[in-house]
Symmetry: D4
Subunit: 149 residues, 8 copies
């Protein structure tokens, strides 16, 4: 059993690297959005032409990014969504809703401060974790049956 | 053609009432989550028993609310999601993602300040409006072909 | 919003009547399997011809009952599954699994003694209740937003 | 043609090993839940944090196990569900219902004593066997056309 | 609960009338293909223009009939397929396969002579009957719980 | 049996009126896009705000029109697509492809000059007609079994 | 592009071998039912135990065969269904209907005598051929673009 | 992540070769219709027998081509549809509609002259490009996160 895992959400810390590193040796493959903030914002106009209006600038980029995001979520068995401490992060919550409607197994990752604000999102998850190593432990258990020592 | 419209998101202003009132006479039906904040927070424990832990208190309520929310979104032709000025509103973004994955026609309603933060959400919508009366005008046009005078 | 509710499981107490009675005045419709135990066991051979072998006797009846059960679950918005104190009740758990895979909102109803044995089933539910009146209160809240006094 | 087989249900005898051993040389791959009873019960709290309330202890574990179970059933061509002599085994019946709703080919494996109690479950199966070697023989026939000597 | 029933297959006896008549008073609605043999054969060319080649003559008619047949089967809860004593009746078997793939509840109706030839079709049905009155009795039982006196 | 019919395509002749008029008395309901060319082009900017760039002007309108078009096609049993003598009419062919992928029964309506250019589209249809009255005759036959006199 | 092809229907001539042989070198894989008539008839009772009643003897076998048949059809891109000169061959027509409902590309293979009787089945096919070599030529064209010399 | 890309539409320029060439080294696979115009027109009659009527000649070919086209689109993650300067190109628009209904990520490729005529098609796309190299740049960005220098 290979688990396909999509890592959605917060892009300003190294939580994805921690999970990928921790999961070495497990039969899991990882996918994620483009996490280079500038590239992600500008990809639409850089490729398809400038837009003077910021709204359409953003729109063109969001559409191009959706090609990767949808593919990543639709191919995944497990979607991990990380909410960081800052920013609105509505795209993270959007991905969680998208994944939930497709019946994906959701793992939500956030600190205790966000519990009340994320209660509807957490309620659709199969696991709510605070730290990346817990996600690794879940993947290890799911794939091998082994619990943390 | 009857349009079934689900009104998701912000619950602290009267935008739902404005839309329902403005759409009088149109062949549209409206549905929405429970918008009584206290009831929505406490429904789980009020019916199914107290929880000393706030996380499970919230969880039980979010699950009961999901019975209504899922039904509302799954039955809808059009899902309108309103983002207000305050709070995280992750459940609004979650609903948008859920509706998008089900192929619903999305209308996103928010002020100009949120444009950049909502770019991924807006990019999945068929219309992005700033004011409730614009939603009414869309519904009127879709149902009757009439544009605003 | 009309909620279509399917009442699956235990057939030896009046829990269905309590829910239907309690929900009077709510915009809910109810459906259930044939709850006459003898008719349910014998319907296959009574209509389609005797079987000397008890296995095929049972089989024929289970197939005919499935016409009603599948229709009831597939049409439902909410599936309530009641586990009583006695018997194996594997068909109740089967219905819960069937409903879960179809994405129905599940309410599981059972006494505290069955908590551990039903943990996988409960984990797929949006509400786990002990008493029929709690199901009524959930339906009332979901349909009207009103909590128990 | 490779057959993907999921082995659900009873975890106290070596029926899974018998099938996997017997099917050596056939183009079949096998998957199953975590069958270490203690790990399966405790995985939620071991990874995600203790719960003083036994219900939530169980709930957290059941959710984590569901990541593996759903993946296993959804990927499978054939789902074998074994009912042993003891315990409620509601999760086995739940898996059977879940698999049936997804249109999987079901093989139910149980002793003659459970025939009446399992009649609804058996009625959705493509084969009802009493012994693990019969499952092997079915897989051999399906994959190669060879019947038992 | 209203049962939508599609009556497919043999068109040279009055079995449809017997079922519709027998089911009077039950909450069932019936649909069927056009049973006027000549109209059914010629509808394509009568409306869309003559074809000198008999193959395309037949083809045009079969396509027009498919508008009705598909709608009837897709809308149905229960599909009854009757095999008579004569002719190839491949369209009946085709309809059975089509309905089976859509997950419809199938009732197959045929005399004992066809048992072996129809074994694959019968194996997908929830009931195999010999006489139209048995179909009525199934519908009555499914809708009301009443068995034949 | 009520047939829901969506009338897509050419908007410069009265073919829709001819079909609706001709089908009076039949159990059919009709839906169509907004056929007021100017309103259809300008609906986006009229409701949601001006766009200096013609591309986004068009885009906004096309998105709003999609709310009606998708609903119309998704609700339909039969989708009639008319190709007129002029213009590119790519939206007509797009609607045909959209409807085909959803498994709708397609009727294509066009003059003999377009046969070669429309061969791929015609090949997915259940009927290819040249005149609106033929569509009426198909609907009458499908609903009542009556052929043209 | 690899084409997965399922070869359904008549089992008394070597048409499958002709197609598989002719398609050597093409990127196509083939699957089929068990074509050993005796094994196919007896597989159920040979593995799962004798049945004195011929109906249940047949039923058990048909169910076991369905494990292979369903998998073969559901995995296929193209389903070829061959109708021979003899027998009822209802299972062939059933497979065609099953495949059609799943949206598979159908190729029907039969002699000219069966044209009228198979008109509904042919009308759902993308190709109707008379000889196995034509199926090979279709596969070659679809995979390589090369037409017969 | 491997992206499966289907290249639909215009067949008279080398845009497909430009994209495939430009994408060398990327983890993308490409598929397309048969682009030999004569073979594509005649494949039906060349394999399945002559038709004196041009309509059926075209029809037979369109059906055979559909085996490849459907497979290509259904397998794809991304569907690129190119509209050239000439011809009706209704099959290109049909493919776009078919792909849109299946939820594929669409990239539309056309010159500025077609903007108004393609507005409904463009409105369903995630990117609208004018030149083949832009499609390559999108694929590179989606697969690697790298923007054009």
């Amino acid at each position: 059993m290979t688990l396909k895992v999509y890592l959605s959400g917060e892009i300003h810390t190294d939580w994805r690297e921690q999970i990928v590193e921790g999961a070495k040796g497990l039969d899991a493959s990882f996918n994620s959005p483009v996490t280079d903030h500038a590239a992600s914002d500008d990809c639409g106009v850089a490729i398809l032409g400038e837009e003077p209006n910021k709204y359409w600038h953003d729109h063109k980029g969001a559409m191009v990014n959706a090609i990767r995001t949808r593919k990543g979520i639709e191919d995944a068995d497990v979607v991990v969504v990380r909410f960081g401490d800052k920013y609105k992060q509505w795209n993270a919550a959007f991905d969680a809703g998208y994944a939930a409607a497709l019946g994906k197994s959701l793992i939500i990752l956030h600190g205790p401060d966000h519990q009340h604000a994320l209660k509807e999102v957490d309620a659709t998850a199969l696991a709510v974790a605070e730290e990346p190593h817990q996600v690794v432990e879940i993947l290890r258990y799911v794939l091998t049956g082994a619990l943390p020592a």
